[in-house]
Assembly symmetry: D2
């Protein structure tokens, strides 16, 4: 299927990147600007996307829309929220969809279905992700893995926040054949509340979340599992348990990965380094596991690994940390925009 990972070519090696700091002088800045519009700009993902696009040196932000917040100021200076408008949506070069899950698919059908010239789309919702059954020829926006396909894509399905950390961690290991498939790979994940969106649910009130911690999506039934399995296929036997953290933003994933005998942390780091060398949005720790505070308000994903002592069979502890609104959503969407424009992947990012 269209999302199978090329286990031979390594995107990272094919496009080596010089680390360019997001705020140093921007060689491309004299080039033409991309006109970008945001549909659904007042949710947490939409606010983050609007904020980053407004600061992106290569972008001219045409509009950011919100039915509920129409007319009120957006994070983009001088650009209040507008009502969603199909005509204006058609005029941009790239359209970001930060709408509620489900409604994004309708917009995609309307914009791309009509034929003729139309903007390219980065869909930040779950509507067209692998395993959704509605892929619609969308390219999966796991940037470090599908950059070349994204560069040509008409529709990009931006990955979920949990899968971004899990796949960044495990795909290189599967490609290197390190996991032992006959044992469970157990992923315990915890996310800040912005991952659940800006909806007025009683269970997301400060009075319910503060001083609390709880599992949800229990029984190995979380929606994101389909997305992970579509990419990992039979490379690992997954158990995935998310939890709700009393923090605003950020995801930490702790994974116990049974490995084939003789495999250790060095092999894991080697597999990561081979794939991610030169990738500014992926940082590999020399030792220890990452902390959420290392990636808060950034567009990076941090990866770390430790050996496990005194276990009956070989296994390693893998940790991934990212900001669910950064690399887990708007940050990766900007990487995908940069790929579509043939710009450096970190342009306008907080790497």
């Amino acid at each position: 299927m269209g999302y199978a990972v090329n286990m031979h070519g390594g995107g990272g090696r094919d496009c080596p990147l010089v680390y360019i700091h997001a705020m140093t002088d921007d060689a491309e800045s004299k080039g033409p600007l991309a006109r970008v519009g945001v549909l659904g700009g007042s949710g947490y993902t939409g606010l983050e996307a609007t904020t980053l696009l407004a600061k992106h040196p290569g972008v001219s932000l045409a509009f950011t829309s919100s039915r509920s917040a129409q007319g009120s100021p957006s994070p983009a200076p001088g650009l209040p929220f507008t009502v969603p408008d199909e005509a204006r949506a058609r005029e941009v070069d790239v359209l970001f969809l930060c709408l509620p899950h489900g409604t994004a698919a309708e917009w995609v059908d309307r914009i791309l279905g009509a034929g003729g010239a139309s903007p390219r789309i980065v869909d930040l919702t779950a509507d067209h992700r692998p395993g959704s059954g509605r892929e619609n020829g969308a390219v999966y926006g796991l940037n470090e893995w599908f950059r070349e396909e994204i560069a040509q894509a008409k529709l990009v399905a931006n990955p979920g926040c949990y899968p971004t950390g899990v796949l960044a961690s495990l795909l290189p290991l599967v490609r290197a054949g390190l996991p032992a498939r006959d044992h469970l790979t157990v992923i315990n994940a915890a996310s800040g509340v912005t991952g659940a969106g800006r909806t007025s649910r009683t269970d997301l009130l400060f009075g319910e979340v503060s001083e609390n911690f709880r599992a949800y999506g229990t029984g190995n039934r979380h929606r994101h599992l389909r997305e992970m399995r579509a990419l990992l296929q039979d490379g690992v036997d997954l158990v995935f348990q998310p939890h709700l953290l009393p923090v605003r933003r950020g995801i930490l994933e702790t994974m116990v990965v049974p490995v084939t005998p003789g495999v250790g942390p060095d092999d894991v780091r080697a597999a990561w380094r081979e794939k991610y060398e030169g990738e500014p949005a992926i940082r590999i720790l020399d030792e220890g596991l990452p902390a959420l505070s290392d990636v808060r308000e950034t567009d990076r994903c941090h990866l770390g690994v430790e050996e496990l002592s005194d276990t009956g069979r070989p296994a390693v502890m893998v940790g991934a940390a990212l900001d669910n609104l950064g690399k887990g959503a708007a940050g990766q969407a900007l990487q995908n925009l940069n790929a579509m424009m043939n710009w450096p992947t970190e342009r306008g990012l907080r790497c």
Copy 2:
């Protein structure tokens, strides 16, 4: 060794208990009062123990000591903190040790070593716990499992907060032979900051902990593993990974337990119910996993279990929640005091 669990007698069934609400009229209240003293009363565990003992209808709190807070008011009305004093310590019926790990052992040697009449001791530190190598004939204070031994004990080693939840969950399963020993049982745990004590460590500052989440004691090397393994022995193959939560108090433990084919959540709940029937400090959920908010500021441990769908081998998801200062420390210490005095286990507890 002295801490092996009797796999045949079930403490819970041997001493059936009628649920008596902690604040209803107290039949025993006309009986003699136990004189209790607290050494190390100004740490988080000491403050909680002092608070609960001051409200316990059967207790006369003789003193609560603190070098650092000497003279300042304690949570016990009209009882300011005093300097630790061996003579006064010898005069009580039961001595609670809430001292820093290490110094408790010195006090135990001084009080019990001298011979002659001496108070009985509940040691809330790690100094004499199973696997410490300094058990010194201490009885392990996992109340629902060793209540009869505790009733006779001179020295009780109060369990650690993490082991309390793990052992409450897994001991009945091991006794019933449910876990598959040839696969890893993965425990992901998260604790509030009071579990780390009231010490001025930079990494425990609000500025470091708030909006953060991180693993610690990585590599399957946390001190509490020795304690768990001493009780579980070869019944499970443990991976234990604790995390620091941005909450003040409470522990949530999520455990993936591989089981023998055909075993499911009902078998787990049955094993728990057989052991814990009538136990007010253990609550078994009919469905779902427990949340930290259900047990905050209580002396209960909540247990829940769910089946895992779409895994290659049979496993269940087990969840335990408790307040690290309640059932995880001072609450269980009160249960042990009650056992020593032949009082109902929930007397003075927040069950």
Copy 3:
């Protein structure tokens, strides 16, 4: 008007109380039980009232109702939430109204309007408070000030959380003639989110409240001002500015009170002590201002005062701290129940 404070009789002195700890043996416990019911038990105030009533040694909790949570377990062991039922409501001795503001008045009219035997009512909403224009002959439940009237009352209007702290602080000063009426008395208040109720408002989401702090009810227009002014009358010229704190529960009020020349902190403490001597729910600090953590999860109000240096005119800084769900709501409601039953004011309280 009916709520003017008797400036001569001091409730506190009239009924001196021996401090009896809520959990010590309860002399009255052998007496008859009061049957109490709660309407609106699943909001934050209702949950707190249900929790405290279930533990009150003199109370038989007949029911706690909730339309939204009907059938699910309440904090009262073995007592799930029921649908509100007028017939059952009529059968109790005392009815607690924890309903949304507005709907309480309808229940009061139905229960008390019908004539014949009916339960006495403690209304925890704003519907019948002083200044509401719907006092309806309700007695104001500021317990330390109107205890004798409450003992006889058919309907008690339980005070708001903010007014409880402000009036506890300022009424004794006004009675002693300490404030300078020709200058502004400035009250800055901050409350935890449970003060806003358990309603699914977007501005109360964890994502909005955490790491935030903001004023609300600005322009000296907060509803509670009417209630404060009805009691303080022209004794002070009030500015009241509440803020929303990123905490679950608790209120801190910092008040700059211009005073007549020569008046200092000692005079303030003397006025408080004269009024509150022997009152277990009011604690006067010997020095400094109170902290929210001193009163969290208690039914006490702490009062403190400091002099102000280097100001052009005499003024003192007064601080009040209480738990908005404790002394600010359910705790005071229990004091009022105790007054109705001629029980000690602290019976069943966390003092």
Copy 4:
């Protein structure tokens, strides 16, 4: 004295600024880079300064030093913390002092006292601020008010976080003669914990700060009052009461300002607009009071004003919000660096 504000010339009008977004293309970026060093880079202020300087397009960060964190990575990519070194400190163009209060003065004496060529200094500590008695000819770094003097200064005393918001709010009002001097101006302020520095104090532990709120520096005795009074002189009669907020960063200041009859919110906004027109780091709200979340992780200060209803004498409610680490420290320090280099005031800022 050297810090008296010029009540006639308006800095804002003298140097009108075109709003240039921090991340748009940077005209000056082709110009020479300023070599900057940071002493004390591992405290909260030092970390923020290091982070911003590393991203500043006109800056070459020579070093960031920390005795405690020597050798560990700093927020500047590829620049680990070094030991403080006087020789290296002398080689830079501008030196940022983020040291503990007191030790900064020693460095200033050593660097500037020796004579000969030496770097210019921005001191982020309290050591040379107005009212400290050790001004030493330092220019006060309240950027919008002393920009021209700062451009020429050898030593800049960067303002405290609280005074920055208070002075930004009140200086224009005093200059316009709006406050009534014969009544108290009451300032209630609340700050996140990073304002207290990254020191291992027990009272700053998560366990103490979370779910808490308390006043400190009571009795109108906070160190920052000297600084405010040195600038405001006899223009207002100040009461200043700070509180510790359970948030990581940010300051909110709510001020009741008695005014001369007939003065209202429009007059206040007019005074602000006259002074701050074109200033990117000061934002004036058209209505309402600012919230902490509007300025978190920015270098802006937001100002708002509301009228007060039903008071015996005319007064307005003024609100200021800023990030204590942004406009309250490192952000303003960057504005001062920009002034020294004749760069736009918002260069490298998060405005």
